[in-house]
């Protein structure tokens, strides 16, 4: 509720609900704490202004209510931490969905675009090498590699299948970018030289913006791409279309 009041974007991923829930609790905690403190603060300021209370009391507040207050704060924070935050992160980084269940996509950033690399039908990424990189082969796919014969690469559009987990293997060619998809409640830096997996499970079909979440140069603000959450048929159609475009020879042979 508080989240909505603050205008949070709608959620489109499974774990997003948990994130939202946690954020909601944080905000309630902050609101109550802030309101309590604020009320006390305003009361003190009003009640003890010198015109009304010309003589100050050397001893001030007595008793230890405030110690209890502080202990409560600590307890609430600790429970948020131990009850939600830590387990959640543990799940996200350890329980990465397996090969069979999830779709794997490589997301490779460059100034100022995203390349999304799909395995194609065989489920295996083709070999890549820096030597093969050209403008038309931005990921340096080895043309001789069998596993790469059915791979496809899409620019600035990530197609995923509704309800099926996606593991993004995020990396970058030049500087640090970040894949941030507010609707999916995820973000991960794209660090050159490192490939980091990050996963989510979309639960609502639609087209959502992917933000480049790290300053990457003058074009950073416009490095926008989209994630398209589709059903299986739409996805297959997309895959086929791209395959025909990127492997004209193979298509012709068939």
């Amino acid at each position: 509720m508080l989240n909505n009041l603050l205008g949070i974007v709608s959620n489109a991923s499974e774990h997003g609900r948990v994130v939202e829930h946690m954020l909601e609790m944080c905000h309630w905690f902050m609101l109550i704490l802030g309101a309590g403190w604020g009320a006390f603060f305003l009361l003190s300021v009003y009640k003890f202004r010198s015109s009304k209370n010309p003589k100050a009391d050397y001893h001030g507040v007595k008793g230890s209510v405030y110690t209890h207050g502080e202990v409560t704060v600590i307890l609430i924070e600790a429970s948020l931490l131990l009850g939600f935050a830590l387990p959640m992160w543990g799940r996200r980084v350890v329980e990465v969905p397996n090969q069979a269940e999830a779709m794997r996509v490589r997301a490779v950033g460059e100034q100022y675009a995203w390349n999304f690399h799909y395995t194609g039908a065989d489920g295996v990424f083709g070999k890549q090498s820096l030597d093969f990189v050209t403008a038309s082969n931005p990921l340096g796919l080895d043309p001789a590699d069998e596993a790469g014969k059915d791979d496809i690469v899409s620019k600035n559009e990530l197609h995923v299948i509704n309800q099926r987990p996606v593991v993004l293997e995020i990396s970058s060619k030049d500087v640090i970018h970040a894949v941030s998809i507010p609707h999916m409640r995820i973000a991960q830096d794209a660090i050159p030289g490192t490939k980091i997996p990050m996963w989510f499970r979309p639960i609502k079909a639609g087209k959502y913006e992917i933000v480049c979440g790290q300053l990457c140069g003058a074009g950073h603000y416009a490095m926008r791409s989209h994630v398209l959450v589709e059903n299986q048929e739409e996805f297959d159609a997309f895959q086929k279309e791209l395959f025909q475009m990127q492997h004209p020879a193979a298509t012709a042979a068939k």
């Binding site: 003190s44 003890f48 507040v61 500087v175 640090i176 973000a187 490192t194 140069g217």
Partner: protein
């Protein structure tokens, strides 16, 4: 030494006729420019800090214009800006370019943090007030003190000069993350004379200045306390400076090391932060041998930069504490827990740094560690803030200008601090990282937080430094307008952040139609608030300069305060004190039951 006879003295409001000193007159240069007197150096630092703050604010005004009106020429001054900053930064029509936006953003952050707040809060107030409050004739190493300022000055000149090198100043954020910062401005340019390289060199000078200053502070506080001024009788501001100085001494050097490394990456082609196979355009970058790690920079940077944020806030908390005690006319509630909290904060701030790096792919163990420490660090902050709020209870609060700013500091810091809590949780930070929510979080702590604290300090100690008070009416105008407009800038940031608006966007988010549609209109509101905030500073600037000559004259102790800084002639002479000192009690003995007046100075025997 301990047996020296304590000196009786009575009520000592009013100037001391014997205040002037008996030293040989120094020339102008020695007295005001290359001075080793802590007060002169304090004023030098303070005024430099204020000017840099103002400049950083002006940069931000141009940026805020751009955010609200993407691509439109800056009104009135657009042409002039083009003339000054050149074509990288401004278009012919006088609008900010995308590079220019990044230049201004990086420089706003750098200038505000390292050239504005730290010099004003730590070095300015620290230099001026600390020796006075502990009853010392000067800092422990006066020459080093001077060297510190001139190191800082050099770094300031370099940093400002960097606007005028080819390609303009640094444009990779104040965080200067490589590889972006490593490759910036190198192609075709001069490897030495370009924004990022000059930024690094300037930072090395800045850091050196800070280190010299901090060593001096710590030594001074340990060695030069007046007799009887035991540790638990120190004014809280001194404690705050003490811990701050330790943060600087121990956290800055790793950044200095990192600065050297980025420098050699840029000029000697080493690859500390450059991974193998880096491609620029579609070509493998041959200038680096590879094998480095961009993440290493982030570790070394945040190892400093997290303690640095406490460097920004602690002096302000110290100032606010002084002013709250003085104007509530009662002792601080929980002085000792506050001191322990300071140490807690100081200690913990060294082991939380990776909460800025949740996005870099950390595993469950490391993430758990840093989340736990980050949550732990909020506890001492809560104690500090709670103690301050409780200190108001039962007081007889005088709402003069310093007190207004100090009072407003409390809820403002509260909002900033509270919004830090969701960020501390890794899984939530996934959603909020690098959005305007973060920008809102930290501006609440640094702008209406720290800056208000510093304004309070300026109004409070101005009479000590100049012998005249600043105008109360103008002060109140300054306060109320600033309070309203500054919230007008920063509160909407939380709303934008929740909607997914990210920082460092040249067009304020116009490209991302889907995300920003519901909240884009706030940009206008915030920008107008920022402009009005600028107008609201005019009374302050006017007041600051005119009161120097025209303000109401005051004596030694215009605020009826208890600490030693109010026990010197106003303004204090070279050597500071005109009488032997001995301290008999804690710093905030206000409204002591049975005492005839409502304040009991530390030096008064009974």
């Amino acid at each position: 030494m301990a047996t020296i006879a304590p000196v009786e003295h009575g009520h000592h409001v009013g100037t001391d006729p014997h205040g002037e000193h008996h030293h040989p007159e120094l020339g102008f240069w020695q007295k005001y420019v290359f001075s080793t007197d802590h007060k002169v150096i304090g004023v030098q630092y303070g005024v430099s800090g204020l000017l840099f703050l103002f400049f950083g604010f002006l940069l931000m005004l141009v940026m805020r214009w751009q955010l609200a009106n993407p691509g439109l020429p800056v009104p009135v001054v657009g042409e002039a800006l083009k003339g000054v900053f050149g074509p990288t930064v401004m278009t012919d029509a006088g609008a900010l370019t995308a590079s220019g936006y990044n230049v201004f953003g990086a420089m706003h952050g750098t200038i505000m943090v390292f050239f504005g707040i730290v010099p004003l809060a730590v070095a300015g107030f620290g230099n001026y007030v600390v020796p006075l409050q502990i009853g010392a004739p000067d800092m422990a190493f006066p020459k080093l003190n001077m060297a510190s300022y001139w190191c800082f000055f050099t770094s300031g000149v370099l940093m400002m000069g960097s606007f005028f090198v080819p390609g303009s100043a640094a444009k990779s954020g104040w965080t200067a993350y490589p590889p972006l910062a490593g490759i910036a401005d190198l192609e075709g340019g001069n490897i030495w004379l370009n924004g990022q390289t000059v930024w690094l060199v300037a930072m090395v000078f800045n850091i050196t200045g800070s280190l010299l200053g901090s060593i001096n502070f710590i030594t001074t506080i340990i060695q030069l306390r007046a007799p009887g001024l035991t540790w638990m009788r120190l004014p809280f501001f001194v404690w705050a400076q003490f811990v701050t100085a330790f943060l600087l001494v121990l956290a800055f050097p790793p950044l200095e090391a990192a600065g050297f490394m980025q420098l050699t990456d840029r000029v000697f082609g080493t690859s500390f932060f450059m991974p193998t196979g880096l491609m620029i355009g579609q070509k493998v970058a041959q200038s680096w041998s590879g094998g480095g790690s961009p993440i290493l920079w982030q570790h070394l940077f945040w190892f400093l930069a997290h303690p640095e944020v406490y460097v920004l806030i602690l002096p302000a908390i110290g100032i606010v504490t002084e002013i709250v005690a003085n104007n509530a006319r009662k002792p601080i509630h929980g002085y000792k827990p506050m001191v322990y909290s300071l140490f807690g904060l100081g200690f913990l701030s060294f082991i939380v740094w990776a909460h800025h790096m949740y996005m870099t792919g950390m595993g469950a163990k490391v993430a758990a560690f840093f989340q736990i420490t980050t949550i732990m660090i909020s506890v001492p902050s809560v104690i500090l803030l709670t103690s301050l709020i409780l200190s108001l209870w039962g007081g007889s609060i005088r709402f003069n200008t310093p007190m207004l700013f100090a009072t407003a500091f409390l809820p403002m810091f509260g909002i900033g601090g509270l919004t830090g809590i969701p960020l501390a949780f890794n899984a939530v930070d996934l959603f909020l990282h690098d959005t305007y929510y973060v920008i809102g979080h930290f501006h609440y702590v640094v702008a209406p937080g720290t800056i208000f604290g510093l304004f309070a300090g300026v109004y409070f100690w101005y009479p000590k430094a100049t012998g005249r008070k600043m105008n109360e009416f103008l002060g109140k105008v300054h306060f109320w307008t600033s309070l309203v407009f500054i919230n007008g800038i920063f509160f909407p940031m939380f709303i934008q952040g929740m909607a997914g608006v990210h920082r460092r966007w040249y067009d304020g988010g116009a490209t991302y139609e889907q995300l920003t549609a519901p909240v884009l209109h706030w940009n206008q509101f915030m920008t107008v608030s920022a402009a009005l905030l600028a107008v609201a500073q005019l009374p302050f600037i006017f007041n600051f300069f005119t009161s120097w000559k025209l303000g109401q004259k005051v004596g030694r102790n215009p605020w009826d305060a208890t600490t030693l800084d109010w026990d010197t002639p106003t303004p204090p002479p070279h050597g500071n004190f005109d009488k032997p000192l001995e301290v008999f009690r804690g710093p905030y003995e206000y409204s002591v039951p049975g005492h005839p007046v409502d304040f009991h100075p530390q030096t008064q025997r009974n």
